[in-house]
Amino acid sequence: MSDQANEIREIIFDTLRAALPQDRPLSDNTHIIEDLGLDSVAVMDFVMEIEDKLDISVPLDKIAEVETLGDLIATVQRLKQAA
């Protein structure tokens, strides 16, 4: 696991913990909609926070493909590397 992926994971988990009403266990296998109970708009709003922190834009079709936190980390890492 690269340093960059770890750093992105930390940013995503920290942002989620601040956004969620209750503490939930988070891992790469956590399903964003099913396990965290976010609706589609809440997911897009949460991704906006990540975009700000990492200075990237995540297109909506990429967000739609994401199911787990691991997927999101991989997507964000690819975009960060391309930026």
């Binding site: 609706d39 589609s40 809440a42 906006m48 200075d55 834009s57 297109p59 909506l60 079709d61």
Partner: protein, 405 residues
């Protein structure tokens, strides 16, 4: 069959509303009496949730124009604009819209929804970039999927976030299309359009403004937010609807962009659907004439808007950030919104319920919209009913924001 199984949870909620006899998404108006009154559930009800901003649905000149055109040209065109569905009256309405906005070209669509689909999908194609305000109407989101562009959303009403996103795209191939609305339909707030226009001038891009709720409402001559903000020259396309201030149905776009005629043969939501019937077209042109000739309608509308906004704010309701003809009270929960809505209806006042994901930030809204056709007494009557019902339900001055998120 299992095709509907994915809606099981939603279906249960919906059935619950029906069973309680209070489903805001399925209320028949048994008989409409005027722009501000209808018979609902056997009872005369004050309408405060119709988007009938100028109250033109019963305007005698508008009705006469619709009748005359129906008599002369028939009930429908039975075809699309690119086949047998373009009549002289469609072109005449397009010219009237272009004249009103001082633009070279007008284009009429069969609904406002389709105008957004048709313009957005045609402007932002494969390889282009579409930048949407996060609180955009569903028709803008749906249009963004139709054109295969890369779509990102910027923070609601944030020119800084738009600038950040355009900066990240600098040097990338593809056109950049930016979309904002004049008045946002959920909370009634307006876009900081002068600031958005400045960002567009700095980074480049094509700016589209959906004036669905601001046509006939804002601006010295009623053209909308772009006119009010003094930035019409920076707006490349204005999109709008006939279904609110003009009291009919249909959508349009106007532009000065050279070559925009080509949209008539590339915009699928324009091409592959039947055109509006002659009666609707004639009514719309007559309503546009009323909008232009009677600025007092706009004035009365805005006075009513302010009266309702101040009245509800005075009762302690948490409202959208600025007075506008859309006045939404933020409710602590969807259940509270349903309960309040149903109690108001029982008391003789019709409003709307708006829920996530259609609303921003997961808010549950009890949404009202006012009309120029309301008398000040009707607005006061509505405020009185909000007070009565709010008191009874313990929802006056409820700390809604804190509870909602």
């Amino acid at each position: 069959m299992a095709v509907l199984d994915k809606y099981a949870a939603l279906a249960q909620q919906y059935a619950g509303l029906e069973a309680a006899g209070a489903n805001p998404f399925n209320v028949p108006f048994e008989r409409v009496l005027s722009p501000t009154a209808a018979i609902i559930g056997g009872r005369e009800t004050l309408l405060l949730g119709t988007n009938n901003y100028l109250g033109l649905t019963y305007d005698p000149a508008v009705i006469a124009a619709a009748n005359a055109a129906t008599q002369a040209a028939g009930t429908g065109t039975t075809g699309s604009r690119i086949a047998n569905g373009s009549y002289g009256s469609h072109q005449q309405l397009e010219a009237a819209l272009a004249d009103f906005y001082g633009r070279k070209q007008g284009m009429v669509f069969s609904t406002g929804y389709q105008a957004n689909l048709g313009i957005i999908s045609a402007l932002a194609g494969k390889g282009d970039h579409l930048l949407l305000d996060a609180d955009s109407h569903a028709s803008i989101y749906d249009g963004s999927r139709l054109g295969y562009a890369q779509v990102t959303r910027f923070r609601h009403n944030s020119p800084d976030d738009l600038a950040n996103r355009l900066r990240r795209l600098a040097g990338e191939p593809g056109e950049k299309v930016i979309i904002v609305e004049g008045i946002y339909s959920m909370l009634g707030d307006t876009a900081p359009l002068a600031e958005f226009a400045a960002v567009k001038r700095e980074y480049g891009g094509c700016l589209v403004v959906d004036e669905a709720h601001s046509l006939g409402v804002l601006g010295a001559t009623g053209r909308g937010l772009a006119e009010q903000a003094g930035v019409e020259a920076d707006v490349d396309f204005i999109v709008g609807t006939f279904s609110k201030s003009l009291g009919g149905v249909g959508g349009f776009a106007v532009t000065d962009m050279p070559g925009a005629e080509i949209l008539r043969v590339v915009s699928r939501p324009y091409m592959f659907t039947a055109s509006l019937p002659p009666g609707v077209i004639a009514a719309t042109e007559a309503a546009l004439h009323q909008l232009r000739a009677r600025p007092e309608l706009r004035q009365r509308l805005n006075e009513n808007a302010l009266r309702l906004y101040r009245g509800l704010a005075g009762l302690g309701f948490e409202l959208g950030p600025e007075p506008s003809p859309v006045v939404s009270a933020i409710m602590p929960s969807p259940e509270a919104a349903f309960g309040f809505w149903a109690a108001l209806l029982k008391a003789g006042l019709y409003t709307n319920v708006s829920l996530p994901p259609a609303t921003p930030k997961g808010l549950a809204l009890l949404r009202s919209s006012v009309s120029a056709a309301h008398s000040p007494e009707q607005i006061d009557q509505a405020i009185g009913l909000f007070a009565q019902v709010g008191e009874r339900l313990g929802l006056l001055g409820a700390p809604a924001f804190a509870a909602a998120k």
